[in-house]
């Protein structure tokens, strides 16, 4: 393990950069995904069409293509930001389609009578969703949403490799190709361990969350 320990500073930096990408992406994609899900179940046809278009676009496009669009397409449109920003943005857009569908499956699992009761006391669509349907949908959504979130954490490696640099994946790349370390110990002993720390922690937090939100019907 000494190739890893020798470069532990680099790995810690890479770990923190990966974590930074992940946390920014989470903060963007969770609200965005819920918003798109709300569009998809909305009574207003143009909003539903928009939601469907969004999901179809980003679920069926490879993450790398979304990233190319963000990093090279948006500057063409006059939007100039850092590579880091574009990388996180691409991950946010791509993941939001999957978050949306996980949340929508939760919304569909809430009995129709709940939304009817919400409407019957005069709540409008948004209020019914916010106060009655979504809080109950959250319960069934935690496991599938957890899978989406963990997939996103691993996809942060694609963002790193794409040019953001300095994250766990790129650190492994640099140590092996530029500095000549052997591939296997660096990627298994360092890079993989770094991602496992993040994903296993996330998995444990998700389990706690699942227990916390569970309530008998």
């Amino acid at each position: 393990m000494s190739p890893v320990l020798d470069n532990i500073d680099l790995f810690v930096d890479g770990f923190l950069t990966s974590l930074e990408i992940i946390l920014w992406a989470l903060a963007g994609t969770l609200p965005l995904g819920v918003l798109i899900a709300a569009c998809r179940v909305s009574p207003i046809p143009p909003l539903r069409a928009f939601g469907t278009f969004w999901v179809t676009t980003f679920r069926n496009t490879p993450l790398t293509v979304v990233l190319v669009f963000c990093a090279f397409g948006l500057p063409e449109l006059g939007i100039n930001r850092s590579f880091f920003f574009f990388g996180v943005l691409g991950l946010v857009l791509y993941t939001s389609a999957f978050v949306c569908e996980a949340v929508r499956s939760g919304i569909n699992s809430v009995p129709a009578g709940q939304a009817e009761a919400a409407r019957s006391i005069g709540l409008n669509f948004t209020q019914g969703l916010r106060y009655v349907v979504l809080p109950q949908a959250l319960r069934t959504v935690v496991p599938p949403l957890g899978s989406v979130v963990i997939a996103m954490m691993k996809n942060s490696a694609v963002v790193g490799a794409f040019g953001v640099g300095g994250d766990l994946w790129s650190t492994g790349q640099r140590l092996t190709s530029a500095l000549g370390y052997e591939t296997f110990p660096i990627f298994v002993g360092g890079v993989a361990v770094g991602y496992l720390i993040i994903t296993l922690t996330a998995g444990a937090l998700l389990q706690v969350l699942e227990r916390r939100v569970a309530i008998a019907r």
């Binding site: 009578g113 009817e116 009761a117 409407r119 019957s120 006391i121 005069g122 106060y131 109950q136």
Partner: protein, 251 residues
């Protein structure tokens, strides 16, 4: 018997038609419900009585005709519809209490979010209503911890908290164990006595006799007969009603 209905109709259905695909579930329904009137709707299953009830607050949209509440035409969608629904209380067969909220929160949600009442005011009123329907001691429990009869009484309190002009009951006792039916019906009779305008879809003939001003008998999406309870039960005019009553009253 309840107070005598008076004035112009509170709820008016004129020429109402609805289809579920090919099925013509409501056919040329004309029905006026006066302020303070209690109308019981009965009929065989599939006769359209639940659909009629649900159409009055547009949980079921209608294809043709017009429904007005307190002189105001039922809006199609959006804010206006939400505002009008707030004035129409609804009690469902399957209670539909908000499963993630306590009994008290179920009753205060509408008043705080729709009527913009303060939390303290809404809770005070909610406790009064829960007391009135006899479940005050359950205020902090979740719906799943209550019996069916208790849940339905909470659902009535939740609807009353909006201070509705009219209350709709869609088979309120059909999902209840027999021994719990009366505790719900007693609350409903009390409401009727207090002059609440009510539309009640039910199979409870005893309730119809005790509390209704009028019985509306439906079959095949049409109103076949409407009469005062006593004359309807003792001397139905239509053959269809005679046949229906002979089947349900012989046991």
């Amino acid at each position: 018997m309840t107070s005598r209905p008076n004035g112009e109709p509170l709820v008016r259905l004129s020429g109402v038609n609805k289809w579920f695909g090919e099925l013509h579930v409501l056919q040329d329904i004309d029905l006026d419900i006066a302020r303070g009137e209690v109308v019981v709707v009965i009929g065989p299953s599939g006769s359209g009585k639940s659909t009629l009830c649900r159409a009055i607050n547009r949980l079921e949209p209608i294809e043709k005709g017009e429904i007005t509440i307190d002189g105001e035409r039922l809006p199609e969608e959006g804010k206006e519809l939400a505002r009008l629904r707030a004035d129409v209380g609804m009690v469902f067969q399957s209670f539909n209490l908000f499963a993630h909220k306590t009994v008290l929160e179920n009753v205060t949600l509408g008043p705080t979010k729709v009527r913009k009442k303060s939390k303290a005011d809404a809770e005070k009123r909610a406790r009064e209503l829960l007391d009135r329907v006899g479940v005050a001691s359950q205020a902090d429990k979740h719906p799943a911890q209550l019996s069916g009869g208790q849940q339905q009484r909470v659902a009535i309190a939740r609807a009353l908290a909006m201070e509705p002009k009219v209350m709709l009951f869609d088979e309120p006792t059909s999902a209840l164990d027999p021994e719990m039916i009366n505790e719900v019906l007693d609350v409903m009779v009390g409401l009727a006595k207090d002059g609440m305008t009510m539309v009640v879809v039910t199979h409870e003939m005893g309730f119809a006799r005790r509390a209704a001003n009028r019985v509306v008998f439906m079959d095949g999406g049409r109103i076949v007969e409407a009469a005062e309870p006593e004359s309807f039960f003792t001397n139905p005019r239509s053959d269809r009603a005679k046949d229906f009553l002979s089947k349900i009253l012989t046991h």
